[in-house]
């Protein structure tokens, strides 16, 4: 026998509420006010009962827009079951401690796998399928921006520039054909560095050429930058960082109030750095392989990295906040047989 369920009746026409009770009579739901007068009688199958969420009051909606609101969630569930209907599975899961724990473990595991394995794999596959020239326009505007903001025109003598370009071409003369172009700029505040743009432009700063004494070292740095181009790192970074930003928005976005909104960009920032370190490693691996194939010792990459590290007087920072892997690790890898 199902008890009377206490709650509030709402007409749907006015905002006043009537203390009343709900009761099942045969296949009909009957609502009576406190004096025992019947206010509503509807066949059970015609009402809509809101799904159970925590201890949120339940709503029973009648076809004439009137409704009944009650805090007696358990009694409503009993009533639903007594009519042979099943109650919400999701609510039962949400309340079970061991399921919550399981959900937590699975969520953390899936998130980890998606961020570190799934997403990079998808981005790599997509990047290989997308047209080659996709980022050419962006490369040009990046170069323009760098020229405007940071670089000065190169002051290297023209013969020196030609010498380096022919050295690189000569080294590559027996390997497959690559599409790239070498550019020289004065680095100014950036100092000794090299950059690769997705369209195959590889930029050396004058300071880098002055810093690296051996041709093999310059070629090793070139090989590393070529790795970024060949492995399409710009496009993959773009795909990955966009996805992370969107995912973290949808999952964490609800928690933001006022200033905490800035926190939404934190996971994207940390993940982007992690992806960037991964790409640096991949470019190093690519360079080491290329150097080996051409009969040049990969240790030249190591010594170039060491000179650069010394030049920039690097301090060891917190790994997770860096875009590049620790130089020591990178140099060690060039010494592996």
């Amino acid at each position: 026998m199902i008890k009377k369920i206490a709650g509030r009746y709402l007409s749907g026409k006015e905002s006043n509420l009537t203390n009343s009770t709900l009761q099942l009579e045969g296949n009909e739901l009957v609502i009576c006010d406190d004096a025992g007068n019947e206010i509503q009688r509807t066949i059970f199958n015609e009402v809509k009962i809101s799904t159970r969420i925590g201890s949120v009051p339940r709503k029973i909606n009648f076809p004439n827009f009137s409704s009944f609101e009650t805090d007696e969630n358990e009694l409503i569930d009993q009533l639903i079951r007594s009519r042979g209907k099943s109650t919400s599975l999701i609510h039962r899961l949400e309340g079970k401690l061991h399921f919550i724990f399981l959900a937590l473990v699975i969520t953390v595991a899936i998130s980890w796998a998606a961020l570190f394995v799934g997403l990079p794999f998808l981005a790599k596959t997509a990047a290989e399928k997308l047209p080659n020239g996709l980022l050419n326009e962006a490369s040009q505007s990046t170069l323009d921006a760098l020229d405007y903001l940071a670089f000065e025109p190169s002051q290297l003598p023209r013969d020196k520039q030609v010498e380096i370009i022919s050295m690189i071409n000569e080294n590559l003369s027996h390997s497959e054909k690559y599409s790239f172009q070498i550019l020289f700029r004065k680095g100014d505040t950036i100092g000794a560095n090299a950059f690769a743009l997705p369209d195959g432009s590889i930029i050396f700063t004058d300071e880098l050429i002055e810093l690296l004494k051996k041709d093999e070292e310059i070629f090793a740095v070139f090989a590393h930058e070529l790795g970024h181009v060949v492995k399409r790192h710009s496009l993959r970074q773009l795909l990955q960082s966009t996805s992370v930003a969107i995912i973290s928005y949808f999952i964490l976005g609800e928690a933001t109030d006022g200033l905490l909104e800035a926190l939404n960009t934190l996971p994207a920032f940390l993940m982007n750095n992690s992806y960037s370190r991964e790409f640096e490693n991949e470019a190093d691996e690519y360079a080491i392989q290329l150097l080996k194939d051409l009969g040049i010792s990969p240790t030249h990459l190591g010594s170039a990295l060491a000179s650069l590290s010394h030049y920039h007087s690097e301090e060891e920072g917190i790994k997770y906040l860096q875009t590049h892997p620790p130089t020591k690790e990178r140099i060690l890898r060039t010494k592996e047989p």
Partner: protein, 335 residues
């Protein structure tokens, strides 16, 4: 806390309270996240309805609670559109800056429309005591404020920003209706100019102080942290003062509202939120959400008037596209 024994729901009991708990909501949240991941985001629409309902349902006023009646399928449609627009924009702006800025302008032109339709969707789907809320702001009016007046703010180099802020809040709150009654929101320019003045003055003072103090590079880290703290404190000041003003100056027929948030309390709330979020790698999200809601509601009260005399209004459904684009592009339509 429970006093249902001795209160009569038909009397003028206007007590506002929030009864959600972080522990209970964690279960709901983690299941939402898990199912969202397993369905590649599709469940997020259902998750949203459950989440909003959890907060609405635990917000009790005059012996009844709020409920959210949105159809998850319309939210899903909106989310898909928002996702495509966002993807297209980020991608285009990288591959072709010209096309990217074209999309940006196009989206910017749509913002007023999106704000109005998302407010309509949100309000239409908010129900209290069997009556729906609604939003009666027009798209034309929205274009005047979010495009016309906004351009004036830019031209005035921000001098008109407090004026715009007042206009914006009046538009968003003053056009809400409950049943057949409409909210009234009359704000003062003075408050917005005072608050903006304090924020601007503090920032200038900060820069003057520290431009003399630390030219060394190791000191710049300390200055950055101090600047972050200053921004934190000023945001809390801005948020509490303006929110208090907007709520306290709003009325609905003969009902008044009062908000008494306090900058110090808000700083403490946000600081704890920040710490537990960082150290839990985001898993404290449900607690943070509950803490925010509990604080806001504990500081808001409904004064006088009679909650029993509102009447229902008949109306059409609104699409969810506006609502979801509004969310994904992070346009602040909150009051």
């Amino acid at each position: 806390m429970e006093n249902s024994e001795n209160t009569n729901p038909t009397s003028n009991n206007n007590e506002l309270s929030f009864s959600g708990s972080g522990r209970e909501f964690f279960g709901i949240w983690i299941v939402n996240v898990l199912l969202t991941i397993c369905t590649l985001g599709i469940y997020s629409a259902w998750a949203k309805v459950r989440t909003v309902n959890y907060f609405y349902g635990n917000t009790k006023l005059g012996n009844s609670s709020f409920s959210y009646t949105a159809n998850p399928v319309s939210i899903l449609k909106g989310r898909i559109i928002a996702f495509v627009v966002l993807m297209a924009y980020t991608f285009m702006s990288e591959s072709s800056p010209l096309l990217g800025s074209l999309i940006f302008i196009l989206v910017a032109l749509l913002v007023p429309f999106v704000i109005v339709s998302s407010m309509k969707f949100k309000m239409y789907n908010t129900e209290y005591r069997g009556l729906r809320f609604g939003f009666v702001g027009t798209v034309g009016e929205a274009y005047k404020i979010f495009l016309g007046a906004y351009l004036l703010v830019a031209i005035s180099l921000g001098i008109l920003f407090p004026w715009w802020e007042k206009k914006r809040k009046e538009f968003l709150v003053g056009n809400i209706r409950f049943g057949t009654s409409q909210f009234n929101c009359r704000l003062e320019y003075g408050i917005f100019y005072q608050v903006a003045g304090v924020v601007l003055f503090s920032v200038i003072l900060f820069f003057i102080l520290f431009s003399f103090l630390s030219p060394s590079p190791s000191g710049s880290g300390v200055v950055a942290i101090l600047f972050f703290i200053a921004i934190f404190v000023l945001s809390a000041f801005w948020y509490s003062t303006t929110t208090n003003h907007v709520i306290s100056r709003s009325t609905l027929d003969n009902i008044g509202f009062r908000s008494e948030m306090n900058t110090g309390e808000l700083i403490a709330l946000w600081l704890v939120n920040l710490i537990i979020m960082v150290f839990s790698l985001g898993l404290a999200t449900p607690w943070v959400m509950v803490r925010n809601a509990r604080y806001r509601i504990s500081k808001t009260s409904v004064i006088g008037g009679d909650l029993n005399t509102f009447l229902a209004k008949n109306e059409n459904k609104t699409s969810s596209v506006g609502d979801e684009i509004g969310e994904a592009l992070d346009i602040d339509v909150a009051i």
